[in-house]
Symmetry: C2
Subunit: 176 residues, 2 copies
């Protein structure tokens, strides 16, 4: 099925094995029988959570994103640990980054961030019935937690202050 589009695996080579990224260069056979090279970043998968307080306000985290050289405002997110269920990861990352525990977690979707060069899949959730516990961010993780009304969120979507794809998608799919 769809053989006129599908590429066949020939061989694989790890070209960079870092502490964050694993990069592969694979050889494939194109639908026309020709060989081609595919470079890709292996990713364990991630979660991102839209935390909505009982007063309707939304928590976002401000952090420095070195790859883009700037501070961003994003929904709390993080990578799956080995064998970790997305729901467990969502609760863990939310509490680590914001100090809030989620009484209720609602699944929104799972999205591919950039399928042209990575298999990263982000599971998106809304977290509700939030209870403030103690914040315990990862060591060497520097994050500010900020609180926004739905009106402020809408303004920041329109004026471009929010520009992280998973954050925009999470907020839009959550109906904000």
């Amino acid at each position: 099925m769809m053989d006129h589009l599908t590429e066949k695996f020939i061989k694989s080579e790890v070209v960079f094995n870092g502490s964050l990224l694993t990069v592969r260069r694979d050889t494939v056979e194109l639908p026309n029988g020709k060989p081609a090279t595919r470079e890709l970043v292996e990713h364990p998968g991630a979660v991102a959570v839209v935390p909505v307080r009982s007063d309707g306000k939304v928590l976002l985290v401000r952090q420095y994103r070195y790859p883009v050289g700037r501070l961003t405002l994003e929904i709390p997110a993080g990578k799956l640990d080995q064998g970790e269920k997305p729901e467990d990861c969502a609760k863990r990352e939310l509490e680590e980054e914001t100090g809030y525990q989620a009484g209720k977690l609602r699944r929104l979707s799972a999205v591919l961030t950039t399928p042209g060069f990575t298999n990263e899949l982000i599971h998106l959730y809304v977290a509700e019935e939030l209870v403030l516990k103690e914040r315990h961010p990862d060591e060497d993780e520097f994050i500010d937690v900020e609180v926004f009304s739905p009106d402020e969120i809408r303004t920041m979507i329109e004026n471009g202050a929010l520009c992280d794809a998973k954050t925009l998608l999470g907020l839009l799919l959550a109906g904000l």
Copy 2:
């Protein structure tokens, strides 16, 4: 400003220089003065276009995405050539992938796909007043063009048939 969050550049090393990906391992100074390593994929930037025909139907492209090992349905998209303006790239990629020329291009937003490990920025547009010309996809690019009604698009957003982040964002921001 925001010195308690910002990381300072110390040094940079290219660890993989492929035909598609350039991967760097940089050393930075954290806000607490400690050194840390940042691995990232350099990206030239990209565009993605929601093509809406005068009958209201939307064009999507079906293609095999090797990094995720499956076929996806996405809005037409592609990387910026060196020095290319996003608008020009949007028109070029739309015509290459679908055969349609855009009479009108409307900017939606520009989003970071996954700022944790790449600087990829995707400029999102809606293309209207489409005129069918000749398709001329890149050699060795295997793509089917398919046409969907707004109702079908909504169903595919809800049932997860669409799972590419830029595609979902483009469609939602375009009001579909």
